[in-house]
């Protein structure tokens, strides 16, 4: 005796959020039943294991049927097959496009290609996110990437409109797309201490200040590619380290401002030239795609690590960078104020974000 067929279809599609999450997390039906049993649903309605199994299977089937629609969420609202209340639709989409920070950290900056997809089982083993869930997340990244690649207009807004995501999630996806497009290196050991959210913040800064879209908002790829002209102009900043007078002048202005305000003044004074060279060299090299990829690793190696070894506190860091940036304005012979601000504004906030343990 065996159950050959077992279905339950409601006029309003019944979806249990807990089961949905288990499905998204890539649990098999049997594992999901186990988890649910442990969760104590059975006591709620005098249910037996069979009831739970039947319910889980029904829901899994429903989710599988919905999955196609979730790939283009706008369809979910005007499809006729499932009658799903709007607030549930929002939940379905939001959860479907949600991702594990541990997983995304692994693929951040990698090319969203078949090659990477093949490595997903390694990532799955490493992050203990199930392979099925890894694939879903990876495919989501890829799908979003593919759609927004060809669209004009602001990146975050495009993602939000096409995938009906919340602002927060849309921003995260923008970061992922941005990183994937520019292939920023994030996997090196020195960068391991940074979380996805650190990078997402930096991506937000870069997108809103360094891309073509930051100046002109109707260009294709405007938010995905860095502004080439701006990168060229960054070379001009070299004068701050190549001109000895300017460098000394800059240093003395900064030191005057900092004196007495920090415990690590001596260290700051001592490493000023090195740090300044580091930052400006990063800026000058950004015309090379290879160096763009190493942007974050360079920030860490050239700036964050030296400061950390001198035991600067976060407040010291802030103080230093503020004065470092502002003092440049007082230099009479330094004419590239606009580029300087555009560069330092982003670098400053990125370093603030990245300066932690």
């Amino acid at each position: 005796m065996s159950v050959e067929l077992d279905v339950f279809v409601g006029n309003t599609t019944i979806m249990d959020e807990e089961v949905y999450q288990l499905w998204l997390d890539g649990y098999t039906v049997n594992d999901a039943v186990k988890v649910r049993m442990e969760g104590g649903v059975m006591d709620e309605c005098e249910a037996s294991k069979d009831v739970l199994l039947s319910d889980t299977m029904d829901q899994y089937r429903t989710f599988q049927m919905c999955e196609r629609l979730l790939h283009s969420p706008a369809k979910l609202a005007n499809q006729l097959l499932f009658q799903i209340p709007p607030h549930r639709q929002i939940m379905l989409i939001e959860r479907y496009y949600a991702f594990d920070d541990t997983f995304v950290r692994e693929v951040l900056g990698k090319k969203l290609s078949k090659g990477t997809k093949k490595d997903l089982d390694d990532i799955s083993a490493k992050t203990s996110v199930t392979l099925k869930s890894c694939r879903r997340q990876f495919d989501n990244f890829k799908r979003v990437f593919k759609v927004v690649e060809e669209l004009k207009g602001p990146l975050v807004e495009n993602i939000r409109q096409h995938f009906l995501l919340s602002d927060k999630l849309a921003r995260d996806y923008a970061a992922i797309v941005f990183f994937a497009n520019n292939r920023f290196e994030t996997g090196k050991r020195k960068l391991q201490y940074l979380s996805f959210q650190d990078f997402a913040f930096c991506a937000g800064q870069l997108i809103s200040n360094w891309t073509v879209g930051a100046v002109d908002n109707m260009v294709e790829d405007m938010d995905v590619d860095l502004d080439k002209e701006f990168l060229q102009e960054l070379k001009e900043l070299k004068i701050l380290i190549t001109d000895k007078d300017l460098l000394d002048q800059h240093k003395s202005l900064v030191c005057t401002a900092l004196r007495g305000k920090t415990k690590v003044f001596i260290e700051m004074e001592g490493s000023f030239k090195n740090l300044s060279r580091g930052l400006i060299n990063i800026a000058a090299k950004l015309t090379n795609t290879k160096d763009v990829r190493d942007f974050f690793i360079d920030l860490v190696e050239k700036f964050i690590e030296p400061c950390r070894s001198d035991r600067w506190s976060a407040a010291d860091m802030k103080l230093y960078l503020t004065h470092y940036t502002n003092s440049a304005h007082i230099l009479d012979t330094f004419k590239h104020q606009v580029v300087w601000d555009r560069y330092m504004g982003v670098v400053k906030s990125c370093i603030f974000k990245m300066y932690h343990d």
Binding site: V9, C45, D58
Partner: protein, 1055 residues
């Protein structure tokens, strides 16, 4: 040329990719009606084409308008090879043919393909211009409204109920034609869908003609069915009730809304149910049923029915002791009444009504369930234009039903339905209904209003018990039954148990809540062919019915209830077994005597240890006690003594439950005289019997917060909130071990049904407190070792709080002491008067006025009190009674008072805690504007239907040759059912509606061949498309609602 049909193709969306190279589609549309076809331009390379076509016009007869669907085919243009079909949409334009319904069909329809399912959507606008001379064409019946709803539709008033209409049409099934061997499955499926659509159109038109002949303008309770007879053909048949309906203005309160609020039925209804005779002789209940199986031979066309007719003696399942109470002559007035009604009805061939609930006053008395079955051998339908054979078969059955009703002293059958079960060449035809006496006023020409006129010269019989009074002559009873005087009015006789196929009348007085009661049965049979097979089946039928009834009766007793409503017995035939499933809603009618318990007895004392028996007895008694609490059954009679509650000592008990509330000793003695025939002594004579008893006890009560019923109204619950979830569930079980016994099968089948219910409770737990209404189980044996159960029902949330608030404001709540006081007083009077009734039966008619009046009034009061009684109070009383049982009568009152006080403290906190937990999660069914609600009921809680847009009757076939890829059989059926729902919703939305009421899935035939990776499924659904508005909206903005539908109601201007 009485009509012009216009169609416009606007756009498509979400089309499938038909050209792999470009990932796009070059779509165009063919619009076909009758033999005329139009085409749109090709919209190249788009998955969301905008055609914006011209208006395609078809000039057609209205006969065709009724029969034919508009057929829209979406294709992919291909320059070099044949165009590929994407899918089709069939639009039934019937709703456009009557003026009051929809005026335009416009909206997005799913494009459906029988192989691939839904493939995108298409936006279509359809209009019909009817010319005025259509009356000359009597072949058409445009303008007759059809309703699936089995009550008078909301926003209408029945001025006249004409009666039964039926029709059937037959044809060859395209699936079995020779051409099927060479055409594709898609072509074959589409031919079938189209044929069935045509046949239903034709059927509806023919029924409409009959209605017009009778002078009616509508069919209510329209029930259409398909018989897929395989080789021998395809039968589409329908029955319904012809009526003349008047549209109510939206301002006036529709009388039909009473069924949504049974407890608040206006008091004025009381005078609407006049019976011409104050003292009709009461009585009757039970079921009659017969089996007739004239068998046809396949090979010879000659009918052999005479030789083969297997007539089973009529079985009567009442099981109660013989009726021996003293009777009285029927008054002359009553005879007159009966004659009048009879003449009105006798003019009709079949005085049948497919309605299950009626306007107040329509139903005077209910006799009991009548049913008939007949086993037939199918032979090929030779001439589709002359379906005489099938007609004759049904004619036979209907005659039998009619004669059963006669035998019960009734002139009409209500809640009538017909069904078939087919396996290979054997077909069981079944019909069942409830014998009843109706108020003749509804049948007479020219009598208009339900409301008021006649009762000047009639003494109204109490509305809340009148229908229970027996319609037959108690001296000449059609079956043994035990009669008592009605516990409400004390004047008429009532049976001890009442079975019906109708819904609980809204005015009926009940105690506690109702519940779903099912009897399930499997019987193995040998595989056989032809006549031998038919004979074997017809031999089994009576035994199955008997056992089903016994099960029902036992389960009813186990729940301490005394009446069944909505009884539906399905017997399904398979190659090697018969399945029987009886479903009904049990309820405690306060007009009927309290049910006795169940007593277990060993056949021979030495057989089984008495210990064993007493342990079973104890379990049964415990179950009864638990059920009483669960369903809050605390009828007023209980106050008298611990009647009906299980009593450990069998001897005592039989005596006690016989005595009911009559406190006088003489009366108990009197009743005891025929107590020996007590049907509720279960004898344990072998292991089978033990199994039976165990299976009785298996039925798990629904979990806390759930109730269930299979009727329109849930007895005892009326304060619905807005949460509604309609669902369909299908489960198929494969029996693997070949050597199954009847017992084993029964267990499997019972578990299957019980597990389904458990699944529902679990899935719908977020809706608690909630009630599963209209639980409709259908069983089938699709293959030798498969059992299929299909369930459609609706879960509705209700407000637990409100009940309590409602009770709180009633005068009842003066405190428990006073309540007890009130309890005792009238009952003692009642008891006295009833005993005097019995002893001096001859005097009753005269004496009754004075002695009966006061106690009756009091007891009626009390009855309504009981209805509203708050739960803790009921619980308290129950406890008090339990304790009190066995105490000496004289000290009864004081004792009970003391107990009630003490138990008050104990009980109330418990109850509060419980209600709090139930209230916790009540948020479900948040809706948006585009939502189309569906329900098998005739109403949606919290809303009022302002317009009926027409009947939805759709038939779909889905087939796959890639079963595994579609997720196996479950995946296949899951998506198909979802698709059917989607198509129903789309059609309703296109008609401008926002809900489907009286929805039902008539057919769900599933066939699979896993080895070939194939499966096929046929589904037929129907319902009424409606526009409903929320009641709160209506109150707050009544004026806007009125102006919004000026077209519909003429009297708007006046209000």
């Amino acid at each position: 040329m009485p009509g012009k049909l216009k169609a416009k193709i606007v756009a498509g969306r979400h089309l499938p990719v038909m050209d792999r190279a470009s990932d796009l589609t070059d779509a165009f549309v063919e619009v076909k009606f009758g033999n005329t076809t139009f085409k749109t331009d090709v919209c190249p390379k788009s998955l969301n084409p905008q055609w914006n076509s011209e208006w395609f016009k078809f000039e057609v007869d209205d006969e065709d308008l009724q029969d034919e669907p508009l057929q829209i085919t979406v294709l992919d243009h291909d320059t070099y090879s044949a165009n590929d079909a994407i899918g089709k949409v069939y639009i039934d334009i019937d709703p456009l043919l009557y003026s009051e319904a929809a005026s335009v069909i416009s909206g997005w329809f799913p494009i459906y393909d029988t192989i691939h399912g839904i493939r995108g959507e298409i936006n279509v606008i359809v209009k019909v211009e009817l010319f005025n001379d259509l009356n000359r064409f009597r072949q058409s019946s445009c303008g007759v409204k059809f309703f699936c709803t089995t009550c008078i539709p909301q926003c209408y008033r029945a001025t006249l109920v004409h009666g039964f209409v039926e029709e059937l049409v037959v044809n060859e099934d395209p699936e079995y034609q020779w051409i099927d061997r060479i055409r594709t499955p898609r072509a074959s499926n589409e031919a079938r869908q189209r044929l069935i659509s045509l046949m239903s159109g034709e059927l509806q038109r023919k029924i409409g003609l009959k209605v017009l002949e009778m002078g009616g303008n509508a069919v209510v309770g329209y029930l259409q069915c398909f018989d897929l007879e395989g080789e021998s053909g395809l039968v589409v048949r329908a029955i319904g009730t012809a009526c003349t309906l008047d549209k109510l203005s939206s301002g006036s309160a529709p009388n039909t809304n009473t069924h949504m609020h049974p407890n608040t039925a206006p008091a004025s209804n009381a005078c609407n149910s006049p019976s011409k005779d104050g003292k009709e002789s009461p009585l009757a209940h039970g079921c009659r049923s017969t089996h007739n199986s004239p068998v046809h031979s396949v090979c010879s066309s000659q009918r052999l029915s005479q030789n083969f007719s297997v007539s089973v003696p009529t079985l009567i399942f009442t099981g109660m002791g013989s009726g021996g109470s003293a009777g009285k002559e029927a008054g002359p007035l009553r005879t007159l009444l009966r004659q009048q009604t009879q003449t009105a009805l006798e003019q009709r061939e079949f005085p049948f009504f497919t309605l299950t609930s009626f306007p107040p006053g329509f139903l005077l008395h209910v006799g009991g369930v009548v049913s008939a079955r007949s086993v037939k051998l199918l032979d090929r339908i030779h001439n589709p234009d002359e379906p005489e054979t099938r007609d004759a078969w049904w004619e036979e059955i209907r005659q039998e039903i009619k004669s059963h009703a006669r035998a019960l002293g009734c002139h009409a059958v209500v809640g009538y339905s017909e069904s078939t079960s087919i396996c290979e060449e054997v077909c069981i035809l079944s019909a069942s209904g409830t014998a009843a006496i109706l108020n003749p006023r509804y049948m007479r020409e020219g009598c208009l209003d339900i409301g008021c006129t006649d009762h000047r010269f009639e003494e109204p019989s109490p509305p809340n018990c009148g229908f229970c009074h027996i319609p037959y002559d108690e001296l000449n009873m059609p079956f043994p039954a035990q009669l008592t005087y009605c516990y409400h009015c004390r004047r008429q006789k009532v049976p001890d148990v009442l079975f019906t196929t109708i819904d609980l009348p809204s005015e009926a007085a009940v105690a506690g809540k109702g519940c779903l009661i099912q009897a399930r049965l499997c019987r193995l049979k040998k595989k056989a062919q032809g006549e031998a097979n038919a004979t074997a089946i017809s031999n089994l039928l009576p035994f199955m019915e008997y056992e089903l009834h016994t099960q029902l009766m036992n389960k009813l007793k186990l729940r301490s209830m005394n009446a069944l409503f909505g009884l539906h017995i399905q017997i399904s035939v398979g190659e090697n077994m018969l399945l029987g499933l009886a479903s009904a809603t049990g309820v405690y009618l306060t007009a009927l005597p309290a049910p006795g318990g169940i007593q277990i007895a060993g056949k021979t004392p030495g057989d089984l240890s008495s210990e064993h028996i007493s342990s079973i007895q104890k379990r049964i008694n415990d179950t009864i006690a638990v059920n009483k609490e669960l369903y809050q059954i605390n009828p007023p009679e209980l106050a008298e003594e611990g009647v009906g509650s299980p009593i450990p000592e069998p001897r005592h008990r039989s005596r006690l439950f016989r005595s009911h509330s009559e406190s006088s000793d003489e009366l108990s003695e009197l009743d005891l005289s025929h107590g020996k025939k007590d049907a509720f002594v279960l004898e344990i004579d072998d292991t089978d019997a033990v199994e039976d008893i165990h299976s009785l006890l298996i039925d798990a009560p629904p979990p806390t917060g759930f109730y269930s019923c299979n009727t329109e109204n849930m007895p005892g619950i009326s304060n619905w909130t807005s949460g509604v979830q309609m669902f369909t569930s299908v489960r198929v079980l494969r029996l693997s071990n070949a050597n199954l016994t009847n017992q084993g099968l029964n267990k499997i089948f019972t578990d299957l049904c019980e597990n389904l219910l458990k699944s529902f409770y679990f899935k719908l737990r977020s809706m608690i407190p909630c009630c599963l209404c209209h639980l409709n189980f259908t069983v089938a044996v699709p293959e030798e070792e498969l059992i299929q159960v299909t369930v459609t029902a609706v879960a509705m949330t209700y407000d637990k709080e409100q009940t309590q608030e409602k009770t709180a404001e009633k005068p009842v709540n003066k405190g428990s002491l006073e309540a007890e006081e009130q309890l005792q007083f009238p009952l003692e009077l009642c008891a006295d008067s009833s005993s005097s009734n019995i002893q001096t039966a001859s005097k009753i008619s005269g004496v009754g006025e004075s002695t009966n009046m006061s106690p009756r009034a009091a007891s009626v009061d009390y009855g309504s009190f009981a209805d509203r009684c708050s739960t803790w109070l009921e619980l308290l009383r129950l406890k008090a009674h339990t304790i009190r049982r066995g105490s000496v009568k004289t000290s009864r009152r004081t004792q009970s008072l003391a107990h009630s006080v003490s138990s008050l403290e104990r009980c109330s906190p418990l109850q509060e805690g419980r209600s709090r937990s139930l209230r916790s999660s009540r948020s479900f069914g948040g809706s948006s504007v585009t939502v189309v609600k569906m329900t098998p009921l005739s109403f949606l809680p919290g809303t009022r239907i302002i317009k009926y847009l027409g009947i939805i009757n759709m038939f779909f076939i889905r087939e796959t040759t890639s079963l595994r890829e579609e997720g196996g059989v479950s995946g296949f059926l899951h998506s198909f059912i979802a698709e059917v729902f989607a198509m129903v919703r789309a059609h309703v939305a296109a008609l401008g509606g926002n809900a489907v009421v009286s929805y039902s899935m008539k057919e769900c035939v599933f066939m699979e061949n896993p080895n070939k990776n194939q499966a096929q499924c046929l589904i037929n659904v129907s319902g009424d498309a409606v526009i409903c508005i929320s009641e709160t909206d209506q109150e707050s903005s009544a004026s806007t609602a009125n102006t919004g539908q000026t077209g519909g109601s003429e009297t708007d201007g006046a209000t």
